[in-house]
């Protein structure tokens, strides 16, 4: 329980920093918006029924790229003044540090999505306030932030840190992208939710497996 408390203090610290500058959130949001605009020019999006074909893909590409932007900031900020070393000196399990950072990243991503989703609804003329869609977004984002936090800590140790994160992260993320896009498409198509269950289960499995693996292996990544 001590670890949970300290993880929450790390979240508090990240949230306070973010609320003061709003750097990460605003850049993530603008980037997601830009992705939608670029897609509009690339695919001539219109509010007709055909848009449903590519809308799920656009949504998740926007979330994915905007999310990577946020993840990159997450550990670069810790590295700037040696803060990560300061955290490592604290009498806290490394897994608690991982949990704190992952929760913070999850919170920022969900916030970005909460702002981007209504814009998306307007541009694509699609209903987005459906519990099933929100569940899919939540499951996809949990997996994203879970592995993403580990990979953010990995790539911050490399020479070309901003570039390395997507290169490492995207191949591993493919199952989440497939499952999220597929189930989002089914929801937009109005298919019964049962049909999406395999995808929901796949995302659940991904989330659980990689949260455990990341939780256990984080300490090796940050060890000095």
């Amino acid at each position: 329980m001590d670890g949970v408390k300290k993880a929450l203090w790390i979240v508090w610290k990240d949230v306070v920093c973010e609320l003061r500058t709003k750097e990460t959130l605003s850049s993530m949001f603008v980037f997601a918006l830009l992705a939608i605009v670029i897609f509009n020019f690339a695919f001539q999006l219109r509010g007709d029924e055909r848009v449903g074909l590519i809308a799920p893909g656009v949504l998740w590409v926007a979330f994915t790229f905007a999310g990577v932007l946020g993840l990159n900031r997450s550990f670069i900020k810790e590295k700037d003044h040696g803060c990560l070393e300061g955290l490592m000196l604290c009498p806290v399990d490394r897994s608690a540090i991982y949990a704190g950072k992952a929760l913070g990243n999850l919170a920022f991503m969900l916030l970005m999505e909460a702002i981007a989703l209504p814009m998306f609804a307007v541009f694509f003329n699609l209903p987005v306030l459906m519990p099933s869609l929100l569940l899919v977004i939540l499951l996809g984002t949990v997996g994203f932030a879970g592995v993403g936090t580990l990979f953010s800590a990995i790539s911050v140790n490399t020479k070309a840190r901003e570039v390395m994160l997507p290169i490492l992260f995207f191949p591993v993320l493919i199952p989440i992208v497939i499952a999220a896009v597929k189930s989002t498409a089914q929801i937009f198509d109005g298919v019964s939710f049962d049909q999406s269950m395999p995808w929901i289960n796949l995302m659940l499995a991904f989330d659980v497996i990689f949260l455990v693996v990341s939780f256990l292996s984080f300490e090796y990544v940050v060890e000095g």
Partner: protein, 230 residues
């Protein structure tokens, strides 16, 4: 000195060299002369004797990267990291061979160079993961940090493979799967030729692995000597 390296014996190396040479020659004979033509695809199917073993060696290499990573984190002995690195490099090469031969095979078989068939797509994702693994290694200067971080990535990447495969397979069920390897009617002589090819490729993998490991060790010794002189 013994504890810092694996399989560093010149007798074993030359034995493996000759064994894999014999294996490859026999394999070539079996693939092109001994095995009969396939009923529907004729002669082009013979690339299968290179495609399948390459994919197998790639998969085996990545399994070794995974095991090497776990063992490195447990023991912190450099030899496990060297093993993982060497295996990853070989694996990426064979993975590329599997992709290219698969694509060449695909042209006459499916009439297209590429199809997003689950196995082929998973192989592509595998290649991307382990190419990223090798890039990651080049991006970290400090040796023990590189070994640790690469080990973690090698473990995560390997755990991901079955999930990738499953997700792509489900994704493809929307469209009919054009072709699977199981559909080839395998005559006993074909199976024999395939087995020879598999053994030959595996021996060749081991030979390359040993060579790569000793190359790494020599490089390391050279570094140590440079340090001592400087």
């Amino acid at each position: 000195m013994n504890r810092t390296r694996f399989l560093d014996s010149s007798r074993l190396t030359s034995a493996l060299f000759w064994l894999s040479l014999v294996g490859i020659v026999t394999g070539l004979y079996a693939a092109f002369i001994y095995a009969p033509n396939e009923k529907t695809m004729g002669v082009v199917y013979r690339i299968f004797y290179f495609h399948v073993p390459s994919a197998w060696v790639a998969f085996l290499s990545f399994l070794v990267v995974f095991v090497g990573g776990i063992m490195y984190l447990r023991t912190r002995e450099r030899r496990w990291d060297t093993l993982a690195l060497s295996s990853a490099e070989i694996g990426v090469v064979f993975c590329a061979i599997a992709l290219i031969t698969g694509s060449i095979w695909g042209k006459p078989a499916w009439g297209t160079w590429w199809t997003w068939e689950p196995r082929l797509t998973t192989t592509l994702v595998l290649w991307l993961i382990y190419a990223a693994y090798l890039m990651l290694r080049r991006m970290i200067e400090e040796e023990s940090q590189r070994a640790r971080v690469a080990a973690v990535f090698g473990i995560v990447g390997f755990v991901d493979v079955p999930i990738v495969f499953m997700s792509i397979r489900w994704w493809r069920t929307v469209h009919p799967i054009v072709f699977t390897i199981d559909e080839i009617r395998i005559a006993p002589s074909m199976l024999a030729a395939l087995l020879i090819a598999l053994v030959a490729f595996t021996l060749f993998y081991l030979y390359l692995l040993i060579q790569r490991i000793s190359l790494e060790n020599v490089g390391h010794e050279l570094e140590a000597l440079k340090q001592r002189v400087a």
